[in-house]
């Protein structure tokens, strides 16, 4: 199943630290040999300051207690640098830790800066040091500290570039701490900045959007309301264009969100077109499923794809999130997906059929007879389906929904009336205007 694994395509668009959860997931799924993943982890850690963690992994990878010298050296170096940065940022940190002092801050940045300078001798250098310190904290894996400092930094910082990267940092930290609500706020904030800011080249802007979308996957598939919001974000023209040009693999997530979400019909039709267009650049069972149902009307194919989709969802780090309930662990998204996918197939199937053999139908939907009959009865009772069951023959018979002749006639005539009214109105207006002239 490794063929459908998107990690290699997603990882380059993430922060180093954000890749860890993905690797953890892959390790659990055992898609790749353990050794490979551990190596990848060390590789990742090389450029971070989480040296202790790297040492642990090294030990478990090679089953030794020895640690290579360069790691030890690096540890010393990191600790030294941490110390230095801590010292540099100390005045500001102590100020910020003093609640009564913080009370003095106001919403006016200029005032704050002036005040800090006058009363606490804290200048731009210290503020800059705070940023560096926060960044270092983040690299060491102390995300909560980093998030706090970055928040404070943003309140004081005047450089918009720096402020932006602080925001990215904050978002990453919040994601890693799994504070989804706060992360979502940060995400929206960042999105606004990206959309409104004038970038040096359109390419940069697209790149930022791509990053944003990749990072947002963490939030959307964990937040309660995420599945509607992912559609809101990804399906905007600008973002959809970015997906189509540079990151077509994101279509998987958008497709899944569309399938799981029933209330997005109008956009869904547009999205089908996108899928059709991009079939050459990206394909996976989920998009193929949609193509089968809505482009080619191949129901057998759709059914096959549905089974593949199940696998894909289970092995996707974002989609296959597990929920532990007592002794069971379930993947809620999978069940929801299958239910909706079934409904999709059935809906389209009914539209073009007048009589359907229930046995065949249930086969297509991966249901047994009893279950299926109940399902259909429920659909009919909720008046979602205009049909009757013929038990003797074992078929479902659709009610034909031909447009009524009289309705059509009325439609035709209705327009006439309106037009004539308008015409008369205009004539009268004209007639009144004439004598006045």
């Amino acid at each position: 199943m490794a063929t459908y694994d998107l990690t290699p395509r997603i990882a380059p668009n993430l922060d180093r630290h954000l890749v860890f959860p993905l690797l953890e997931f892959l390790q659990e799924q055992q898609l790749y040999p353990d050794e490979q993943i551990l190596k990848a982890k060390i590789e990742l850690l090389n450029n971070t300051n989480m040296v202790d963690y790297a040492m642990d992994i090294h030990k478990s990878l090679y089953h030794t207690d020895d640690v290579p010298q360069d790691m030890v050296d690096r540890r010393v170096e990191v600790v030294a640098r941490l110390k230095a940065l801590e010292d540099a940022a100390a005045p500001l940190v102590t100020f910020l830790q003093n609640p009564s002092a913080v009370q003095e801050l106001r919403s006016d940045k200029q005032y704050n800066l002036q005040m800090l300078k006058d009363r606490y001798q804290i200048g731009p250098d210290q503020i800059e040091a705070l940023y560096q310190y926060a960044k270092f904290q983040f690299e060491c894996g102390n995300y909560s500290g980093a998030a706090d400092y970055l928040y404070q930094y943003r309140a004081l910082c005047t450089n918009s570039e720096r402020s932006l990267s602080a925001l990215w940092g904050k978002l990453a930290a919040e994601i890693l701490m799994q504070n989804w609500d706060i992360a979502l706020e940060e995400l929206n904030c960042l999105k606004e900045i990206i959309d409104s800011k004038s970038f040096s080249s359109p390419l940069n802007q697209v790149q930022s959007r791509i990053w944003l979308m990749h990072w947002s996957l963490f939030i959307f598939f964990n937040h309660d309301n995420g599945r509607t919001q992912i559609i809101d974000l990804f399906n905007q023209d600008k973002y959809l264009n970015a997906i189509q040009t540079s990151a077509p693999h994101l279509l998987r997530y958008l497709a899944t969100a569309f399938i799981v979400n029933k209330r997005r019909r109008p956009q869904f039709k547009e999205f089908i077109k996108v899928i059709q267009q991009d079939q050459c650049s990206y394909k996976d069972p989920i998009t193929e499923f949609l193509a089968c149902v809505y482009v080619n009307y191949e129901f057998d194919g759709a059914q096959k794809k549905m089974k593949e989709c199940e696998e894909v969802i289970l092995n996707d780090p974002f989609l296959g999130k597990r929920v532990e309930e007592g002794n069971f662990s379930t993947v809620p998204l999978k069940d929801e997906f299958l239910e909706n996918a079934r409904l999709f197939i059935f809906e389209t199937y009914c539209r073009i059929h007048q009589r359907i053999d229930m046995k065949v139908l249930f086969e297509k939907l991966n249901l047994n007879y009893e279950e299926g009959e109940r399902w259909i009865v429920n659909l009919i009772r909720n008046s979602k389906l205009d049909a009757k069951i013929d038990t003797e023959m074992g078929t479902v018979i659709m009610e034909p929904n031909q447009p009524n002749v009289y309705e059509q006639l009325i439609d035709h005539a209705k327009a006439l009336q309106g037009r004539t009214y308008k015409l008369v109105g205009q004539l009268l207006e004209h007639a009144q205007a004439q004598p006045a002239r």
């Binding site: 650049s281 007048q354 006639l409 037009r419």
Partner: protein, 777 residues
Amino acid sequence: MSSSNHKALNAMKQKLKKNNKQYEELINKYRENPESEEEKFEEEEEEEDEDESGSELEDPSQIPESSDEDDEGEELDDDAGDGAWEKKLSKKEKLMDREFKKDPSEITWDTVNKKFKEVMAARGRKGTGKFEQVEQLTFLTKVAKTPAQKLEILFSVISAQFDVNPGLSGHMPINVWKKCVQNMLVILDILVQYPNIVVDDMVEPDENETQKGADHDGTIRVWGNLVAFLERIDNEFFKSLQCIDPHTREYVERLRDEPLFLVVAQNVQEYLERIGDLKSAAKVALRRVELVYYKPQEVYDAMRKLAELSGDGEKDGDETKVEEARGPSSFVVTPEVVSRKPTFPDNSRALMDILVTLIYKSGDERTKALAMLCDIYHHALFDEFSIARDLLLMSHLQDNIQHMDVSTQILFNRAMAQVGLCAFRVGLIAEGHGCLSELYSGGRVKELLAQGVSQNRYHEKTPEQERLERRRQMPYHMHINLELLEAVHLISAMLLEVPNMAANSLDAKRKVISKTFRRLLELSERQTFTGPPENVRDHVMAATRALCKGDFQKALDVINSLDVWKLLRNRESVLEMLKAKIKEEALRTYLFTYCSSYDTVSLDQLTKMFDLSDAQVHSMVSKMLVNEELHASWDQPTRCIVFHDVEYSRLQALAFQLTEKLSILAESNERAVEARIGGGGLDLPLRRRDNQEYAPGTGGGGRWPDVSYNQGRQGGSGRTAYSGGGRPMALGQASRDRSSGQSRGTGGYSGRSGSGMRGSQMDASARMVSLNRGVRG
């Protein structure tokens, strides 16, 4: 006039002024009484000759010695045929030689410079032979004292070689062209060897700049423009291919010279990149792109091999020749520094990528647009439809192509045609048709692709226009096969239009996909007897007739019998694709046409009839059902399609008719009111507007006030079939705009170049005969 030519003219004017100062007296005298000019001029020349010959007599022993050296020059003059000419030329040659032969050590920079100025001053004058001038200058390069001087003289040699060109419509003699290329290489040798020499055409350099020797440190500025020369060389190459009859051996021989040019271009580009002039490098890169983009991989490989082979063979030959010509007296020996062999990556895509990336990075707008189009063309050639399409869409070239110059438009048309072919090959019929229909809507494909002059029977072209058009023609080897293009266009139109016609058989006017196709079909239907198909059009029409009845096998046979398919590389797969498409469309057509005759149709019957699989038929029919093209539904247990006849009772039908009539009445009311009060504020319903668009000839003429359209109209009124009057199509508009842009562009261009061209042509025509003969000898 291009900027380089302009500069050259200015420079020449100044030189002429300087030169004339010496003869100010004489000129003034001449102006006073012009009739005695001829005599005096001749006298003066004779005097000069005598002067020099006097000195020559002093040292008679030198004569026989140097005569060997002159052989080449004399040979040429022998062939010139004209006795008088011959004498004069050879005498002068000898003089030149002798002057410098006397003693190599005596030759100084000054003497060379003086002579150089003298020769240059003679350029373009009535009495100077162009060929002879080239010879003189070439000789001077041998005796040049400093590299910079040699460079300066070489530049003049090349310009003089360009002068040899007999007029704008003809091309440069091929061997002169080759020498020109060699000279360019030597220039590059010098430039690479002495990096302190800078070529520049922006500043007028010092008189004595070139006196600085090879060991001078600091930059030496020499006047010249490498890119302009290179572009000129390329243009001449292009022109020669335009002129030579493509069915002769000569054409093939000429094509073999392509690697020669590529070498120079490559070296120039490398040089420019090294000195950091990326903008010019991009221009050169574009020239290279233009030689590569239309080549399929096979042709590219052939060129690569040829370049490797001839690179070896020709190199030796040329070397000895150049060496000989240079003779023993070459003071500044330039070793060959730059490579004489072009290097090609294995894959033409790789080469294109390198070049195009450079251009995108540092080219100007026009260069970028052209490179983009070439890139698109190349991708399309390699069946990369989606990449080509994305490039085309992202570049937004479609939006403003009307405002670009004619050659860009031609390239755009070519790219579109190629993208259309590509779409067809990969089975995207609708996309292919979209690309091609615009080209065919005006019936001027040849003109739009610059592959031949199409006769416009309504409007005579002025000779000027015709000449310009001829100069824009693509050389034969770059042509897109028109028959194939037509076949692809018509077949894709057929595949789209036949089911469409069947679906809307009642109101045929309502939805037309391809006007061209409809018109052709109408024409062929009007024939009393239809013979066996001869050309592409007949074939497609025959296939259409079969397809209309749902007879896919016959349609397929007719299409397969077209012999243009042999031009396709992946012929088998394309025909396979075509077969599948024809079957599908036959099925659709059949269902549309005969649905009223059936109550139910079984799936098995359909699969048998159209030789399709169950799944395919099911999917096709389902698609039609979902799109509500067909009022029917599946009956799954019996595997049948059940048609719902949406038949109305008599009363209902009458009621519909009534409403229809009422709406017409309302419409005419609205129109009447509109005419009275002036439609300004009328907020008419949308439907009415639609109708107006389809109404024949309503106010079309006023909307497109450009020339070609009006001409079309005048002619169109006579020919009903073409119904030229009111064609308010959105598609036609673009191509029409393009044509008007074309004529506008040409007008401007001819105005500027015309006068200069005529002058040089007259001058050249007298000499053309002798020159050509000289060249062949």
